[in-house]
Symmetry: D2
Subunit: 333 residues, 4 copies
Amino acid sequence: MIVVLKPDADCEKRDQLIGWLRGMGLDVHISTGRFQTVLGLIGDTASVDMDLIGSLEMVDSVKRVSETFKRCNRKFHPEDTVVSVGNKKIGGGSFCMIAGPCSVESEEQIVSIAKAVKAAGADILRGGAFKPRTSPYDFQGLKEEGLRLLKTARDETGLPIVTEILSVSDLELFTDIDVLQVGARNMQNFDLLKELGHLNKPVLLKRGLANTLKELLMSAEYIMANGNEQVILCERGIRTYSDYLRNTLDLSAVPMLHELSHLPVIVDPSHATGMARMVPPMAMAAAACGCDGLIIEVHNDPPHALCDGAQSLKPSDYEKLAGKISAVREAAS
Amino acid sequence: MIVVLKPDADCEKRDQLIGWLRGMGLDVHISTGRFQTVLGLIGDTASVDMDLIGSLEMVDSVKRVSETFKRCNRKFHPEDTVVSVGNKKIGGGSFCMIAGPCSVESEEQIVSIAKAVKAAGADILRGGAFKPRTSPYDFQGLKEEGLRLLKTARDETGLPIVTEILSVSDLELFTDIDVLQVGARNMQNFDLLKELGHLNKPVLLKRGLANTLKELLMSAEYIMANGNEQVILCERGIRTYSDYLRNTLDLSAVPMLHELSHLPVIVDPSHATGMARMVPPMAMAAAACGCDGLIIEVHNDPPHALCDGAQSLKPSDYEKLAGKISAVREAAS
Amino acid sequence: MIVVLKPDADCEKRDQLIGWLRGMGLDVHISTGRFQTVLGLIGDTASVDMDLIGSLEMVDSVKRVSETFKRCNRKFHPEDTVVSVGNKKIGGGSFCMIAGPCSVESEEQIVSIAKAVKAAGADILRGGAFKPRTSPYDFQGLKEEGLRLLKTARDETGLPIVTEILSVSDLELFTDIDVLQVGARNMQNFDLLKELGHLNKPVLLKRGLANTLKELLMSAEYIMANGNEQVILCERGIRTYSDYLRNTLDLSAVPMLHELSHLPVIVDPSHATGMARMVPPMAMAAAACGCDGLIIEVHNDPPHALCDGAQSLKPSDYEKLAGKISAVREAAS
Amino acid sequence: MIVVLKPDADCEKRDQLIGWLRGMGLDVHISTGRFQTVLGLIGDTASVDMDLIGSLEMVDSVKRVSETFKRCNRKFHPEDTVVSVGNKKIGGGSFCMIAGPCSVESEEQIVSIAKAVKAAGADILRGGAFKPRTSPYDFQGLKEEGLRLLKTARDETGLPIVTEILSVSDLELFTDIDVLQVGARNMQNFDLLKELGHLNKPVLLKRGLANTLKELLMSAEYIMANGNEQVILCERGIRTYSDYLRNTLDLSAVPMLHELSHLPVIVDPSHATGMARMVPPMAMAAAACGCDGLIIEVHNDPPHALCDGAQSLKPSDYEKLAGKISAVREAAS
């Protein structure tokens, strides 16, 4: 960590600061320049409060030169982490197709979609049972019953299942779920992350609406620091001043996360764009820049012919897209 | 709700959409213009999924014309809500000064600060016991012991106490706390909000880092829909591309929230700016634009003379500021 | 345009507003609902000041239902516009590779890079002569001399040239340039846009740092409204709270701009990411989601072996990338 | 400037980089830590291309420790700059009230408003003659005729005038204008800034929609580097994900700009909020946090009784507000 002092920093206060830092077990290297004095802090600076030091009147700025994330950091773990879900592997060259409806609605619905996406090449089934909704008046999911229906669909197809968990208090209901998803709004629900760190099963961690890559990695670190290293990162669009699309899909996060971390990175083009017709181009783009998988909403809903253009693809469109994804991955590799 | 169809919308599909909407119990008024057909939906549209309709290929755009927030909406409740904490009232002209340290560190620390801020005019004591930290390696607070020390400080001074709750599973530890705070990262932890809705005590709800005013009000609605109407809104800075300050304090949220809602609105200038020297100007600005209270970090830490410039004010500076706040409120009224 | 009035709107004021709107030549349809009165404005609403109406106390909200952009709007011009630059076509299925150095530095430099990128498959040469720099103390480009050197490189290779224009007063210097580029910082320099509208040559219009797609299209409209319909749109990254990358490349803008407008859309992955090693994945992603071309920085600078990792690719890497781009386009089509 | 190298940086490449930096006339101090090597660059680093160095593969990060702005920097000029406009002073404790209509519409309009705002205590008259509009189809202002009418209003009232300039080519029309305004969209129109640097009259420089404080100061530096030190900075709201207000007024910019720079800082609450009813609270807030002046839209338009709630205040409301502003400034000082 580097602390840059202001040119007019009082000598006595400076010495107090240096004493305090050394008292925390750090080595302090002092280098005095024309306009500034720069303190180099050597040692375990992970627990040093940058904000506190930065707010001292004599301090011009504080810069961390070593990453605060350790376990998910590629510097200390150069090889790709490969997460296994059933027989399927994600990362390290293995690509994973996750598909299914936004919400589980009925046994017939989830089983028929599970069969359809399996036929279309999906590896894992997704479906929401506990739904986070901005409004308390909106449908909150079938909850426990939804989890039961997902397991039925797994039994019928053999596809492992991934679904979102909203609360630590629901944890025991998820014992038999293959992959637990942490949604964007819970990316910094540290209480939940810690509990997931005690499990021995994969966690799909979605990036929050306005979170940086560092914050995403620190949230992965919460899970990993508690012992669970099976974390899958997921880019799902960030909030900007976008006018025609729900969110801004930040695809450059894919190669950058791969550079920073050894964890697999997947992309959710359905939530990012909110429109089925935008899903194929963005899914192909995500594959082209090297993601390790795609989580895509697919429905199978003949009576609601209306929904042709909604966020979810039809199975036939998904199948077509799956073929193109393979071709794009091969072309880009 | 208004649904604007594209000029080339297929008639049959249009009729299917209208049938589906009517099937949901809505009246649909159709008005056909030169370039667009506009459907006006009359009835209980709160549970209509705007995103689904907006994603239909034939739909140009969907616009909600009635607010989805009801209980916190000033339209349906024109008088200010006044929240009582002990003998203190917040809102409807009553101004509330909340002060205390970022974290509870020891009995001596919290009691001495409590006495100092009381002497300086504070109405409520704040102090973090459970701390949400971006990094799992950072200090997470004294937890249960911190709550106990806060109560000791309350006993010694008579000041009610406000402190952050991170998890539903900690709820029983907070039985005897006067005001429960929901932090920015948990503003959309709907599970927590629902549980707080079952309490009969004030909740201080902080705006999330990148959340809109509507989302903040919908989160208040989660608490209120479950029966607890004692919600205090708090603006604490949003994430932008700010270069010299930690966050961007959005003070125009204060008069706008007052227009939209009857709930009291307070401001946290300490977290928004991250620098004690920025707290007095921004606290005065907040008072000038009509907030109902201020939550400010104050510490009392003679051995750490270093921290003069940190996020927290010294009690003597806080006392000076409190006087100016009164003067500014009078001048602005 | 739709104007939603508040439930308590004063009748007399409402009638004044309606009279005023009718005085502007608009038809006003009034529909009265339970909570709101909605006015539908029919006629030429392009010049109606939404902000003024929206700021009236009796008005809840104003929503425009028809687009304010006309000439670049796909609704009124369903076929793709194809822009010709020399023998090269851009748009309507024709893909264009633009490459060259950030700045023109010397005749030797620009000619050798021009030859290298031509050999690698580029269609158009780029190079900055007038450079917009945040700091007045930074290098501002070779200016007139830079334009002369670009023309020399064109003479030597036959590649058409594109370069940025910063000011109307420089316009006569650009007479013989093939494509004029408007940079992100000038996207709303309306004075410059209007003048470019009087030319009969292609304009490459870059999206501003924090501009919406609608604003980008309105800036295209400025050029087209003055007669010049040869506009190429360019996505080059937007400003967000990105921590590891310079900007956030908004690739979903590509399919969305194609839906909204008939103009060709190209992507600049070099400026968006600021790192050569991020250019290939993002260039392939851009191709996969359907862009009509790529503008990529390439340098050829053996003595500065240092710069291997900089924003610019080496010609050999560019050549390799060009091959992959073709393969990805084929796979995605 | 500090350059942090990656742990695995190749020694030979590192030496090449150091050689190259020394070749640019810089001293390079090398300090080798456990995980990183840090290079400290001493000398004139203003022209060093941070982005280029940062993009080298061996480089982890680059941090500038000295400001690139010099002339507007308070470090090198501790006393406040005071800008004089006629007899009026702005900065250094002198507060300035600028008021007038959004656009100049007619002689009667501008003269009557000028008289009204003068009576209400305004020091300078504002009014738009050249209007930057997002759409080419919107009213662009009375242009030259508008400037003539502003001068008439000045003759009638003695108030100095400020108005926006959009283009270098209009510069000669502004010879007799007292203060030239650079609008938000032109904050990085460097060509215009340079020309204004050659004048000997005050420039009111508005912050761009998504520009940082550093960028604002660098744009001031463009004007000052060319000789004109009479620059007034203006905060006018930034673009965020605001839902109910046009922009987010960033008032913490006021004390922070005062810390960074000696230039006066004024605030425009009319454009930031877009609603007259939000102007008084935000104007008082701006005064409370120490701004040096306010630029507020005022109109005087009895026939358009409709516009009561629009962005512009009525003169009577402005007069009332002016009184409160004085009281708030006194209370806050």
